[in-house]
Symmetry: C3
């Protein structure tokens, strides 16, 4: 089965304001990770945002950046990404994917 | 490991026609859920759409709305969302994600 | 629980250059699969791309095409899709989703 030969990897989806997207792209470049960027997107924060202010509002231009990394690369990436998101009020979530043409996603 | 400290949540992706996206956004606001909206997107329905008509065609402007909710919030959200999608010919799918900066996604 | 009545399916996300998106759409049509297309997106390939050249660069207009198929339909779809992606330098990844209004995604 072709599906059995796909490679388990991690997809990281990041939502950040457009003005800070370049910081995220630069970080991904430092880690040797490619990305796909969807911009602009719009959004709205959750009610009850615990940090006491809204990240998103309907007028803001957000960017979604998607990257797929080898499972072993997730932790080093998060070590750099999470502090950046903290400073830039961005969010991220990780999910499991099975990748075709996996060589494309493997770092040197 | 940072990855071990991420919080399991549910991502809901909704595709609906642009004219009905406001209804979905209003519903998410009622539930206190933030969202990210990607618009416009285009799409085409499956052949064999069982409801006897096409939801999508190549000319239609669709919207994709992504929200991430706590697992316990999924069921109440679906109770409101599914009837709305039924009326508006929208579709949705749910997947597991692990969230960084989880406090952002927690409702009051 | 509504969530228990959702149908497990497979989501396939494909990233390909805009000029080849039509080939992917045609293939999905041949398989009777609907899709949602997000375009344009931008992207950048991974450093160390093993095929010796970059797929993406910052200036390129990429397209992301999302389709959701029944699990049993994944293998036949991959049999057609993977050779096409090989020729067109596209990439794809598969993930598990639970679908509301599943009849919409069922082929004739």
């Amino acid at each position: 089965m072709l599906a059995d030969h796909m490679t388990p990897m991690k997809k990281v989806e990041i939502v950040v304001s457009g003005e800070h997207a370049g910081d995220v792209r630069d970080l991904l470049a430092d880690y040797g990770s490619g990305f796909t960027q969807i911009a602009p997107v719009s959004g709205r924060g959750h009610h009850g945002y615990h940090e006491g202010r809204l990240l998103f509002n309907d007028a803001s231009a957000q960017t979604m950046i998607v990257t797929v990394v080898q499972s072993a690369e997730l932790e080093p990436l998060l070590e750099g990404l999470l502090p950046l998101l903290e400073r830039r009020s961005g969010v991220a979530w990780v999910s499991d994917v099975a990748v075709a043409r996996a060589a494309y996603f493997v770092r040197e």
